[in-house]
Structure formats: structure tokens, C-alpha cells
């Protein structure tokens, strides 16, 4: 019999609803609330204790809450943590995911359950997330799924892909042998496409965002220049890598109307940079944009440009660069960006 600990919020622990949301972490013996239904669905696993925390307490004292809940978890010497289901509840889902991530980080299997659009999903780290309905009406469906995945994890066997085992993709790809040649599989995909079904063997986990609204009046807007072409001052003083950059840089454009070739260079290692080094405006069009500002077509130019090397950079790292640069641009009041990709 494997021992499990179940995490629920103050509401599902029976401590109260919003008025109890600031309750600090505590422990209850055995299975409580939805834990009873979960226990009924579990095979070979016993819920030894339930740990709980108020959603607001967790949100307002995250570090203390995680540390205390980890202490409570570790005191049970359990083989697995199960958290939720949190359905569509953002605070609760986040708490489930953060605690599950912290437990998984320490090498103990952890399962959280919530709706796939719950913001907590992104915080689950190495933990597994079982998708549920958006509200508590999905409890009856969710518990057996959580129990099945918990059972699989507790057994120590290697898990299969997300759609077979019932968890959300974690962005992990594994190599395996299919027994069929690439040419045969490509023909299958092509035939499927000709009959109207587009399939892929390499699904992307890329974000989809709505197109931002049009810039209402560029002649009054603040515009910025961004590039992943590895454009840096001559000599690359900050040592931007030519491949697999781990960060981005920002260089002042104050007092400049062009990027002169004796002052700037391109260190990108993924394409021939000869033409770019002849005239760096071919990557970061400061000359043209400065003219357009002078003509009143663009309101103002942001006084710095942003650069990195987009070469062999994992998508998740690029996404982080994008978020960090976008935050900086928003703080500066930038309304429009021209970005060159090479």
C-alpha cells in the first residue's frame, strides 16, 4: 500500500468559503471532502492525510505556504501527492500546481487536477496535471482520472504519452521506434491531408495570441526596434553568444539616426553576416525610421533597441525573452514594434 497526501483548499477541507480563505496551512487526518471519493477510486494507495491552506493565504504568502505545506507533506513520508481538483478556480489551481511542482521537484510524484485553461497549469513544473471540467459539476468524472494517474505514477512504471495516460502535455518529447519508415509515414500524412485531415507527428506547444488591435495613429505613437539578428556594438562588449543565447540586450539609440558599420556588428552564428556588417540598418532600420520620425509619419522612436541571437534558442527560452522585452516596452509606453527575424 502506497501512502498518499491529498491537498485541498479551505473550502473543500470544510473550513469555510471566502471568510476562511486566509487560513494558514494545516493538516487533517485521512481523506476529507473530495478526498473520500478519491480514496474510493484509488487502488493500492491510501490517503494518509489531507493538507490544506486558504487560497488567499497561499496567494499572499506563497513562499511560507509552500514551505509549511512541504513540511506537512514530508512528515507523512508519503509516496505521492494528489492536489485538487481545482476546476476553473485560479487561486486554488495555482496553489495545487505550485505545491505539486515543489513536491515533484524533490523527486516525489505529484498530480494536480484542474481545467486546462486554469492559469495554474503553467505553474505545475515537473508535476502532472489531469484536465477536468471547468466547475465542480465535473467532480465525479475527475476523481477516477486522478486516481488512475496517481496509480500509474505510484507503480513506478514509465508513463506513456499524455493522451493515453490522461494528463496535459508537459512539453516533453521522447524518442521511440515506430517500426515504419519516415517515407511511409510521410505518405500517410500526405494522403490524410489530401482527404482533408491535417495531422502532424510533431505537435507544437506554441502560444496563440489574438492579434493586437491596430495602432490608431502612428504619427503620435512611440515605436521601438527589436531584432533577433544578433546586432551589437562593435567588439560585442556584452558577449552576446552567436548561438543559444540565454538573454537579450538593450542598447541606447540616443542621438543616433543610423547604425554605422564602424560602430555596430552582427554576431548571429546562423547566417552569413557579411551584408549585415556592411550596413547594420539592413537588420535594424534605424536610418529609415529616423527619417520617418523627421517627416512626422512616426510619432517618436523609443530611445533604445532590443537584441538577441535567435539561433538554436528553445521556444520556451524565446518566449521568456519575448515576455521580458514586452514588459520593458510596455513600461516605456511603446505602442508599436518593428522586429526583424533572420
Amino acid at each position: 500500500m502506497v501512502k498518499a497526501v491529498h491537498y485541498v483548499n479551505q473550502f473543500f477541507a470544510g473550513l469555510g468559503s471566502e471568510e476562511a480563505a486566509r487560513t494558514p496551512p494545516s493538516r487533517l487526518a485521512g481523506a476529507v471532502g473530495p478526498g473520500r471519493g478519491l480514496q474510493a477510486a484509488l487502488e493500492g494507495i491510501e490517503i494518509a492525510a489531507t493538507i490544506t491552506c486558504g487560497d488567499d493565504y497561499f496567494a499572499e504568502h506563497e513562499a511560507e505556504a509552500v514551505a509549511r505545506l512541504l513540511e506537512l507533506f514530508e512528515a507523512e513520508e508519503a509516496g505521492i501527492l494528489v492536489a485538487g481538483p481545482a476546476f476553473g478556480s485560479g487561486r486554488y489551481g495555482y496553489a495545487c500546481a505550485r505545491l505539486a511542482a515543489a513536491v515533484a521537484e524533490r523527486g516525489t510524484p505529484a498530480v494536480a487536477a484542474m481545467h486546462e485553461e486554469n492559469p495554474g497549469v503553467a505553474a505545475a513544473g515537473k508535476a502532472y496535471v489531469v484536465p477536468t471540467a471547468v466547475n465542480v459539476a465535473g467532480m465525479r468524472e475527475a476523481l477516477p482520472r486522478m486516481a488512475a494517474l496517481a496509480g500509474a505514477l505510484a507503480s513506478g512504471r514509465e508513463l506513456g504519452p499524455p493522451e493515453e495516460e490522461g494528463y496535459l502535455p508537459r512539453g516533453v518529447r521522447r524518442n521511440y521506434r515506430t517500426g515504419r519508415l519516415g517515407a511511409e509515414r510521410a505518405i500517410d500524412l500526405l494522403l490524410a491531408k489530401l482527404s482533408g485531415e491535417t495531422r502532424t507527428e510533431v505537435s507544437s506547444g506554441f502560444d496563440r495570441v489574438e492579434p493586437p488591435a491596430p495602432v490608431p495613429d502612428l504619427s503620435h505613437a512611440l515605436l521601438a526596434l527589436v531584432t533577433e539578428a544578433g546586432c551589437v556594438p562593435q567588439g560585442n562588449p556584452d558577449r552576446l553568444p552567436t548561438i543559444r543565447a540565454r538573454g537579450w540586450l538593450r542598447y541606447s539609440l540616443a542621438g543616433r539616426a543610423t547604425l554605422a558599420p564602424d560602430e555596430w556588428e552582427c554576431v548571429h552564428g546562423g547566417f552569413d553576416v557579411a551584408l549585415a556588417n556592411e550596413d547594420p540598418n539592413r537588420l535594424v532600420p534605424l536610418d529609415t525610421v529616423s527619417e520617418l520620425v523627421g517627416e512626422g509619419r512616426i510619432g517618436r522612436l523609443h530611445d533604445a533597441f532590443y537584441t538577441t541571437t535567435g539561433n538554436g534558442t528553445p521556444a520556451a527560452v524565446s518566449a521568456r525573452f519575448g515576455q521580458e522585452i514586452a514588459r520593458d516596452l510596455k513600461e516605456a509606453g511603446v505602442e508599436a514594434v518593428l522586429l526583424s527575424g533572420t
Binding site: 489574438e210 492579434p211 491596430p214 539578428a229 551584408l275 529609415t288
Partner: protein
């Protein structure tokens, strides 16, 4: 601006303008650069569907 609009749309870029070459997405000379930048400004001010790709001309 990129000469690789298929990659840009694959990763979810909503306003992509097809540049002339990987090595110089903003063109070789000033006249070409001006056309590209002006088209980019036009795209920034346009209502677009997700994953839209425009050409310069």
C-alpha cells in the same frame, strides 16, 4: 519582418511581413528599406486575422 514567414506563423506571429532575404530582412538599399518599413507601418495600422502574412508589394 522576416524571409521565413512559415516559421513566424508556426510560432504564432500575427503580423508577418515577408522580407527579401534572411541576411537582410529590411532590404539592401535605402529605397528598398523605405518600402519595407512603410509597408510594416501600414500593417501595424491594419486590422488583421491571426497569423496574417503580407508581401511588400
Amino acid at each position: 519582418m522576416t524571409a521565413l514567414p512559415t516559421i513566424a506563423t508556426m510560432v504564432g506571429v500575427n503580423r508577418t511581413l515577408r522580407g527579401p532575404a534572411i541576411t537582410h530582412p529590411f532590404g539592401l538599399d535605402e529605397a528598398e528599406r523605405r518600402r519595407i518599413v512603410e509597408r510594416g507601418l501600414e500593417m501595424l495600422q491594419a486590422e488583421v486575422e491571426p497569423l496574417t502574412v503580407w508581401d511588400v508589394e
